[in-house]
């Protein structure tokens, strides 16, 4: 089974060929936006983090931003900072440059302000866009793929149809030497004992139990019932009663292979196979984390029909709910509702999703890509000072 993509200097393969303008800090967003206005073909990546953060929270934001810059779908990166932030443009550039892809930075205050920074940034972008535009796709194997999997607007069809169908795809990719990253720690609560049985080592098993416990402890520290936040009102309207029920359906999206490791949010896996990434279920943060972990493509099972996308990694939306498939055609890429009608097996449905994955990898735009639906949102776990 062959894909076609853009081979990067480090040997990784992108299935998109973006030139990114990446803010290292929220204060630089204005500058990034002005450059993106001059170069609409560049991919604008703005966010609200990067400064006045503490410890693990700062580390996590830096890791996610580095991972985004390193994502193989990005051909070249211009990092924009102010020069006064804690996650500096210089630092991100140094890390991203380990991939040997073209990467430059601007620190607006050091350049002498906005008016001086803009022409310099424009010059970098002009060169990067010229370079990227001359790259061509070449054939590669599935071992080049890191697939992200995230479910959203879950209903009770998700655990019966779309999640297990995508689990079939996850298994196929791993059997072909690829990598699959799934996550959403709150949506393992009540199902961790099932996933833990598939841990490659006792250390991986402990890591999984640890992140789930930390997640549940955060809920307990809030003094609130998790219900209402997760399952969210949309999940409950779709028939999901408790977090345990949601989790037992959610873990099926990762398939049935051995769990090789538990990643921090936005952390790039060191090997091949199946990985779990710690992080929230909330869609923008979950998708951003998967792009940071290096997923070139994300498959997104949805019951109620979330329109969400990622700016960096094409998102393939799959529903097992026949009403959603009919009502939200603009947002759903693949309809696997024949499963619950008893007209299709999980394997057949998985095959149809897999075929779409091959098409998307080779350039077909997903529904959310056509609509430019997406945002960067980094999971924030500490106070802002």
């Amino acid at each position: 089974m062959k894909l076609s993509g853009y081979v990067r200097p480090d040997g990784s393969v992108g299935f998109r060929n973006h030139v990114a303008i990446l803010s290292s800090v929220g204060c630089a967003n204005d500058v990034s936006q002005k450059l993106a206005h001059m170069y609409p073909n560049a991919l604008l990546l703005t966010h609200r983090q990067g400064c006045a953060q503490l410890g693990d929270d700062k580390e996590q934001s830096a890791r996610a931003l580095m991972g985004i810059g390193k994502n193989p779908n990005i051909a070249a990166v211009l990092v924009i900072g102010m020069g006064c932030e804690s996650i500096t443009a210089e630092y991100l550039t140094e890390e991203i440059s380990k991939t040997k892809k073209p990467v430059e930075y601007l620190m607006v205050l050091e350049e002498g302000g906005l008016m001086a920074a803009l022409p310099k940034g424009a010059r970098f972008l002009e060169q990067m866009i010229s370079g990227a535009s001359q790259m061509t796709r070449v054939s590669c194997g599935l071992d080049a793929l890191t697939l992200g999997v995230k479910c959203g607007l879950t209903d009770t069809t998700s655990g019966i149809a779309s999640n297990p169908a995508i689990g079939v795809v996850a298994d196929m990719i791993i059997e072909s030497g690829g990598t699959v990253v799934f996550g959403e720690t709150p949506e393992v609560i009540g199902a961790e004992h099932i996933l833990a049985k598939r841990a490659a080592t006792p250390g991986v098993e402990q890591d999984l139990y640890r992140v789930v416990k930390e997640c549940e402890e955060r809920v307990k520290a809030s003094g609130m019932d998790i219900r209402g936040a997760n399952p969210a009102p949309g999940n409950i309207a779709g028939g999901i009663t408790t977090i345990e029920e949601k989790s037992l359906g959610a873990i099926k999206k990762g398939g049935g292979k051995t769990l090789q490791g538990v990643l921090g949010y936005g952390e790039i896996p060191k090997g091949k196979g199946l990985y779990f990434m710690d992080g929230p279920g909330r869609t923008p943060e979950a998708l951003t984390g998967l792009s940071g972990a290096g997923a070139q493509i994300i498959i997104f099972p949805t019951g109620g029909g979330s329109p969400a996308g990622s700016l960096i990694s094409p998102v393939i939306k799959v529903t097992g709910n026949p009403r959603t498939a009919q009502r939200l055609k603009d947002h759903i890429d693949i309809d696997v509702s024949r499963i619950i009608k008893g007209e299709s097996t999980l394997e057949e449905a998985g095959e149809s999703v897999f075929q779409e994955l091959l098409n998307v990898a080779s350039g077909k735009a997903t529904k959310s890509e056509r609509l430019s639906y997406g945002m960067i949102s980094i999971w924030n776990i500490g106070p802002h000072m």
């Binding site: 019932d225 998790i226 029920e245 019951g303 009403r323």
Partner: protein, 123 residues
């Protein structure tokens, strides 16, 4: 008291809108699925009204159960009586506990089931 208020607002069915075509198609089927033989709930694959007889698929077997109330597509009903304090089982696993007695064919959802996990309100 708080959980009752929460349950009402959360049960508001805004995302499951039915159009007429769907309703006509599904009125012919009225199916439900039991995922694991240990389960005491079934998931509906159609909207049902009180006293509808539902064909419940349980692996290779099918069973017929009469539902006692009108319940939406995708929601669950009890396959047998679940007494207050008993576990609600789906996927062969515990998904919560009944907060009141639930009769066979009755709707099983946030109004009569509570989570055993993520309960900061009880911590």
């Amino acid at each position: 008291m708080r959980s009752r208020c929460l349950s009402r607002s959360m049960a508001r069915p805004f995302s499951v809108q039915t159009n007429d075509i769907n309703k006509r198609e599904e009125s012919k089927m009225k199916k439900a699925i039991v995922i694991d033989l240990k389960d005491n709930v079934a998931t509906l694959l159609a909207d049902v009204d009180a006293n509808d007889v539902v064909h419940v698929m349980m692996g290779d077997k099918t069973n017929e159960t009469k539902v006692q109330e009108s319940i939406q597509f995708g929601h669950k009903f009890a396959m047998k009586t679940i007494n207050k304090g008993q576990n609600v089982v789906k996927y062969g696993e515990v998904i919560g506990q009944a907060t009141q007695d639930i009769g066979e064919g009755q709707h099983v959802h946030v109004h009569n089931v509570e989570s055993l996990r993520g309960r900061g309100d009880l911590a």
